[in-house]
Amino acid sequence: MIDVILNTIVSGILIGGFYAACAIGLSISFGMLRIPNIAHPGFIIAGGFLTYYFNKTFGLDPLLAGLLIIPIFFAFGFLLYRGYNRFFESKRDEREGQMSALVLFFGVLMIIEALLSVTFGVDFRTVTTPWSSIVLHFGSVGICLRMAVPFLCSVLMVCILYLYFSKTYLGLVIQAVAQDSMAATLIGSDPRFAKSIAFGISFSTAAYAGTLFVCLVPVEPSLGMQFLGRVFSIAILGGLGSPLGTAVAGLIVGITESLTTAYIGSSWTLAVSFILLLIIIAVKPTGLFRR
């Protein structure tokens, strides 16, 4: 009995880490930059497909391939923010702009889906590695590397981001810009540059989350649209803009879902993250960890 609970919780933790990796980029772009990038899940899927491509064509290990595509996504995010700022953000009132931006990124999400289906076809794609079927046993708890490796990568990602945002000049500046853009110019920083970097980072996390995604389960181009709600609710649960908060929120959702599957019935799992979200909103609207 206790074995089942333990194993269930461990599975929840492992998948929760992956959820965090998916949501963390959104937490940065929406929480820090106030850009409601609903195309984020689309970029995750794109990252997954690129990883798949590198893996299939050059036989690269997916985790390595994921590292290779990060610069591509970073540059893309960097430039995309420049364009967004130039043609959109600087021309709108902040709140009005955010509403239109939702529609703008909805358009972007559609374009991603179309381009992915044109380039890669609409089949389910996944990457299998020599390590993905290995299972380690710790007493009665079995941990499969297919789940554990993405979890570790996510943890690493969260740690790196946490250190980056609290220990480096540019990371602090990004936080500063998020909190008071005008004051940030007065310390000699260029908010536009800082935001471009942050958006690039957000995209890089999307890319790597995609890599982890394609290692975990098969993906197809229209998955982005369907994954949207959960990613957003985790980002909000964690308190937008806080890497550690997002990680904890991901774990909470993962564990709760896992326990629901085991003890209530798997047909209700989809509702878990949303019910948690509604509870949190009723109790503490700013999420769990907003300082």
């Binding site: 703008l104 909805f106 374009i111 289906s117 047909s267 509702a271 949303f274």
Partner: protein
């Protein structure tokens, strides 16, 4: 007020119904009615969305949920209890309105993206409830056989067309009524600054809840004839994000906070979607719709209405920089 309602709703309503009947008599191609149905449904949803989102600034993302709530209510009543269609429509509106009340109370606590995601949450939980309730068809859904056409219609779709025409007219008329009354002005105040509105005596809470209830009820009403249009009502296609997001995008393409914006937007976007689907039979059609949406958002910040008015975009300083 009563007089105003009769002038704005009933008389034009009768006129619209007559025009609808006339069209049904004159136009012979059935395809026309299918396209019109899809576009009119989008108009109804967009107008309904506009009441909350356009006037008060609360973005409801769960359109699909409220729409499907209406559709399910109507099909359950029609199939199991064999009620009158009008009763089914009213019941659909009531059920979605009650759900709207729930969302309305949510809006007391949160706004912005928090509110938007909560609406997705409510809509997803609804989907889960439907999936887990055999009475509501569960995952299998309802298969529906359309009743035979009855005079004066030569085809059942003509009847559905007239129905959705009246529904969309009703949705637009209600939003116009609200816009032109003191309620509309209070909504604008809420949109601009909720605190300021509150302090200057606007009962923001009641009004917000009113807006949410009306908006959601109209979405439910728009969903009522849908089961007969689609003939298979199942939770995944009825409650998906796509339907709602198009309606939402239509408001932005047309112009927010203005009663005829959603009409223009839905006709443009719905028409584009329909025509692109039949003109480009490949993945590229999604690409085209995506690009057009982006083009509109970038080039026409206030929608087509903004362009037509040719008004200069007001120069708004960011709040922090206001002196």
């Amino acid at each position: 007020m009563m007089k105003k309602v009769s002038f704005e709703l009933i008389i034009p309503g009768i006129i619209v119904a007559c025009i609808g009947l006339l069209i049904a008599k004159l136009v012979s191609g059935i395809y026309f009615f299918y396209v019109c149905y899809a576009i009119l449904q989008m108009i109804a949803l967009a107008a309904a969305w506009n009441i909350l989102g356009g006037y008060t600034g609360y973005v409801n993302f769960g359109i699909g949920g409220f729409f499907a709530a209406g559709a399910y209510t109507s099909i359950v009543l029609l199939k199991y209890y064999e009620v009158n269609f009008l009763v089914a429509i009213l019941a659909a509106g009531t059920v979605s309105g009650i759900l709207g009340l729930l969302i309305g109370y949510l809006s007391i606590r949160v706004r912005g993206i928090y509110f938007s995601i909560s609406t997705i949450a409510v809509s997803t939980i609804l989907q889960m409830v439907v999936l887990n309730t055999p009475f509501l068809g569960g995952a299998k859904g309802f298969k529906i056989i359309r009743p035979p056409a009855f005079p004066p219609f030569s085809n059942y779709i003509e009847f559905l067309f007239l129905l959705i025409l009246l529904i969309s007219f009703f949705a637009v008329a209600v939003s116009r009524l609200i816009e032109k009354s003191w309620i509309g002005r209070s909504f604008l105040a809420i949109k601009d600054s909720e605190q300021a509105a509150e302090t200057s005596g606007v009962a923001t809470l009641k009004l917000k809840i009113l807006a949410t209830v009306v908006s959601c009820a109209l979405m439910g009403i728009a969903g009522a004839p849908y089961p007969y249009f689609i003939t298979l009502l199942e939770p995944y296609s009825a409650m998906g994000l796509t339907l709602g997001t198009y309606a939402f995008a239509a408001v932005f393409v047309g112009g927010r906070g203005c009663w005829f914006g959603p009409i223009i937007g839905a006709v443009l976007l719905g028409g584009l979607q329909q025509s692109v689907t039949v003109m480009i039979s490949s993945e590229w059609n999604i690409l085209v719709v995506g690009l057009v949406i982006i083009a509109f958002v970038l080039l026409a910040p206030n929608g087509v209405v903004g362009l037509l008015k040719g008004r200069k975009k007001p120069v708004l300083l960011k709040k922090k920089d206001r002196v």
